[in-house]
């Protein structure tokens, strides 16, 4: 296996890409419940199933809580599984999400980001993924349609790795990527098979087999409980390196690299760095190019891995920088800062004294526009020069 064959290029939406990505990995049990902006995935997978293109079981559950339980159990029995949801659905399966990671079931889920039900809205935003940050899942955020597909394939390789055995949530900005049609290269399924083949050379994970006396989800009593949680946390620590490794392996085979935990853009010689994630990062890059022409040495960190938080790599890049701007598309209730900013601040002891500026933008379907990012860069740049700055800015409230 040197490199994959060229796949077929099609102009399809992010949701369709999600369905293709899943199908290519040959999941054996799929369960999903429709919700805007994810429904197209459920529909397409149903169609694949009806057409025989998807050979797995497809369970048309009565709600998201059940969707997660179905795939969790199938996964514990040994199946490769897939599900997809968004916002209201994600929060309705919250107990099951916690169980899934606790059972160490390598479920792969796509989450099309949307605002959460606190205030009723049918619009984009990353609040849902933030709401699930304490579930013990791996959370990855992607930027564009191709990355959705590639990341789903990488997700299986990561989730089912014997050293990991954890569920993964692949996040993309709903409404934006969900409905965004781009030209996407769909690899040949044999190449996907080949890429996932190393999983078969690993020791078998524990599986629930009838007639064989084992029980999953035993009561963890005192130190048993602590041990299981400890292992869970250790596995999350291992995820970081694995994400980088798998990204490398994927790139070597398919020719597309994403940087693993984080993707850097012009950070090497940068004085200031913008931290952002998801579909907005493309615009950030464009503005960076413009600002570079104006002499501002600015770079971007695209946060791909949000759980576990890529502390070490972030420190590696950010240590010694002069100022940092973080753009959050969600809120961290009870803190002034956005959630990614709040968490980044927790690395301050290691990063050093650079000012960290928090920006809240792009809630509720609002765009994070070129002028917005221009403003962010200018302000962060001024802060780097020791000028006074505003710690937190809700960009739309100031317009």
């Amino acid at each position: 296996m040197v490199s994959a064959q060229k796949g077929q290029v099609r102009v399809i939406t992010g949701n369709a890409v999600g369905a293709y990505g899943a199908m290519l990995c040959r999941p054996e049990v799929v369960a999903a419940y429709p919700i805007t902006p994810q429904s197209e995935i459920a529909e397409l997978l149903s169609q694949f199933k009806a057409d025989g293109v998807l050979d797995g079981e497809y369970v048309e559950v009565e709600g998201e809580n059940s969707a997660m339980n179905v795939v969790l159990a199938a996964s514990v029995a040994g199946a490769r599984t897939f599900t997809a949801t968004s916002s209201y659905g994600l929060v309705f399966m919250y107990d099951a999400l916690q169980e899934t990671s606790g059972f160490r079931a390598p479920v792969v889920m796509v989450n099309a980001n949307r605002e959460t039900p606190g205030i009723h809205a049918v619009s984009s935003g990353q609040q849902d993924l933030i709401s699930a940050r304490d579930t013990g899942w791996i959370q990855i955020i992607v930027e564009n349609d191709q990355e959705i597909l590639d990341q789903i394939i990488m997700a299986y390789r990561l989730a089912e790795d014997y050293d990991i055995q954890l569920p993964i949530m692949v996040n993309y900005d709903g409404f934006y990527l969900s409905y965004l049609a781009e030209a996407v290269e769909i690899p040949n399924i044999e190449d996907v098979d080949a890429f996932l083949a190393p999983l078969k050379q690993q020791p078998e994970r524990q599986k629930l087999v009838p007639g064989v006396a084992i029980g999953c989800g035993t009561h963890g009593m005192e130190m048993g409980y602590v041990e299981a949680r400890y292992k869970h946390c250790q596995a999350l620590e291992r995820v970081k390196g694995k994400v980088d490794e798998i990204d490398k392996a994927f790139g070597d085979y398919f020719g597309r690299y994403y940087g693993g935990q984080i993707e850097e853009y012009r950070t090497d010689d940068a004085d200031i760095v913008i931290l952002a994630s998801g579909s907005a990062t493309g615009t950030v890059r464009t503005v960076i190019d413009t600002k570079r022409e104006q002499g501002i040495k600015v770079g971007l960190i695209k946060l791909r891995l949000f759980r576990p938080f890529p502390a070490e790599r972030l420190i590696g890049v950010l240590k010694g920088k002069k100022a940092i701007g973080v753009i959050d598309r969600s809120l961290c209730f009870g803190w002034k800062y956005g959630p990614m900013c709040m968490e980044l601040r927790a690395l301050s002891p290691e990063i050093g004294p650079a000012p960290i500026l928090s920006y809240i933008d792009g809630l509720a379907n609002l765009d994070i526009t070129v002028p917005h990012i221009g403003r962010v860069i200018d302000e962060v740049s001024a802060a780097a020069q020791g000028k006074p700055y505003q710690e937190v800015t809700w960009i739309p409230m100031e317009e």
Binding site: R104, A213, I214, H219, G220, E227, H232
Partner: protein, 97 residues
């Protein structure tokens, strides 16, 4: 970090395993009364055994006898025996037996 804890589970998550000896409680000690089977009256119908919640009546080939290690002393066997072949006797009476 000096982990002194010796792993309890072989697996990553918490799995129980019945290949080893099963967990077991000393439920015999719960008893305050003990069923005593009258072999003579017993016609080996097995109803006492069938109805016994912990299924602790032992098949003796021609009658049943209770396994005192587990019998909780509920008295169902005595109540259900169609021949009244079982009597519940206070444990105190067996104190040093």
């Amino acid at each position: 970090m000096v982990i002194k804890h010796k792993n309890i589970f072989k697996t990553e998550s918490a799995w129980s395993n019945a290949d080893e000896k099963l967990l077991c409680l000393d439920t015999g000690s719960w008893r305050t009364e003990r069923p005593v089977v009258d072999k003579e009256k017993c016609n080996y119908c097995g109803l006492c055994a069938l109805y016994c919640p912990p299924q602790c009546m032992k098949d003796m080939g021609d009658h049943y006898e209770v396994d005192l290690a587990y019998c909780k002393g509920c008295g169902i066997c005595a109540t259900e025996c169609p021949l009244k072949a079982i009597t519940m006797v206070p444990e105190g009476e067996f104190a040093d037996g």
